[in-house]
Symmetry: C2
Subunit: 302 residues, 2 copies
Amino acid sequence: MNNYSKSLTSQWFKSLQLDICKEFEKIEAEYLSNYQKFSNPIFINSDSPVKFQFKKWQRSEEQKESNSLEIEQDFGGGEMSKMKGNVFEKVGVNFSEVYGEFSPEFCKKIPGTENSPKFWASGISLVAHFRSPLVPAVHFNTRMIKTEKSWFGGGSDLNPIFPNQEDTDNFHNAFKKACDLADSSYYPKFKKQCDEYFFIKHRNVSRGVGGIFFDYLNTDNFDADFNFVKNAGKAFLQVFPTIVRKSFHENWNEEQRAEQLRKRALYAEFNLIYDRGTKFGLMTNGNIEAILMSMPPIACWE
Amino acid sequence: MNNYSKSLTSQWFKSLQLDICKEFEKIEAEYLSNYQKFSNPIFINSDSPVKFQFKKWQRSEEQKESNSLEIEQDFGGGEMSKMKGNVFEKVGVNFSEVYGEFSPEFCKKIPGTENSPKFWASGISLVAHFRSPLVPAVHFNTRMIKTEKSWFGGGSDLNPIFPNQEDTDNFHNAFKKACDLADSSYYPKFKKQCDEYFFIKHRNVSRGVGGIFFDYLNTDNFDADFNFVKNAGKAFLQVFPTIVRKSFHENWNEEQRAEQLRKRALYAEFNLIYDRGTKFGLMTNGNIEAILMSMPPIACWE
């Protein structure tokens, strides 16, 4: 794992962010140009299609900020992109590339930090919540972390308010194909890990209908691992827009919308209580706006 | 601390629950009978005033449930009361009296469990969220916990969307009086503890405008400690309805309402990430409906 590999992976995450944003903006444009056909038109702006807003951020490390020498240090950062549209009620696609030193306490939980607290991490993280309760919410992320060890992690899960088998199958099949290209043991393993990870213990329910979840992936073949991560990203970019386009024009009612807002409460609970990425961010002086971009735009606890 | 004291305290918590519910129902009735005067009438039911709904629940212990002998055991329980009205968008007032054994892991955090994991606990817990963004949300709770040691805990904090000095002063003064009757060192200490406890670290902001927060209170004088806890309850019952009646008829606009929903997101974050009561409940097989009754009815993360 050299600098070349770091640059390769972070460039891929960045380009995937742009490709996904472009595709989601296309969906907004399609909705707008065909809104006469749809029963639940919602207009944030009916003159021109809504676009992503990009916002760069710089990371700081708490212990370094209080350094009296006041040397300006670079700890990386990222670029958030966010869109609030007619179809996407709220979608965030975040790219980040950060580096520095983990706190001694945090090191205990991270492989490869026995001799040095230094780390480098880059990734893409996406959460989309829709105005229509008939379009499933979704999460996708992939990342590479480097200490004295290095590995890939990531996953994606589908969160329909009213699950239907066709969407669930399409979503799973897309990721299964990406997995199978790398190793036939991946999909069953990563699917199981996803079901285990996205389980809301205190309510004894699954967050959604699953997908894949993997971590600490390092087969000693960087090219193969990176290829798998790229294929997972391509799988998401291929399958999810299809799922959105299938139902974004369907009629929905207030009862379905209310159910969506109740379901989002569970999503909020999961993120704040269990999600490792959120906890990681909150505990390591991360960018609050980027970390909490995953939170639902509106949620109800009745 | 004998059975008589247990029964005394739990009876007080129960009677306080009923007194508070009665007072809050009176506020709903007043609003309804005077709605012509108000600019923002909201009608859940305009024919008759809204009332609290009461719901009893029984506690179970996970490890005992899997006992193959299937002996039905009593681990206590509680009674929730909840109202969704024209003034109170959502208010929950919960009474509980539970007993059993803490898990070995949990014992490590609880005093007086070195020789026995047995515990008894009783308390009242209240959270109110209002339709009007001009009426502050509020939390109040008091409890007694008994292991081989025993102590009182509790607190109350005010969460205005648009703080005003008069409400803040009235709220603090009421609790200061209750504190001063017991010990002049209480108020400054409990106020400080409240500020420290209700601080949202990841956003670097206070949740509200404070109040009091105390725990592990045992001066070896049960009567004095119990009196203080009763006076804290009476202080709440005296001051908070006054604060509600001061502004529940004032005109508010959509911008203020939006600000209220944003502020509630912080309330949700605090409860799910930091609140010890919520964590205690989620980790000890508590009643989910009772634990999450504190969550805001609607919250926005924009």
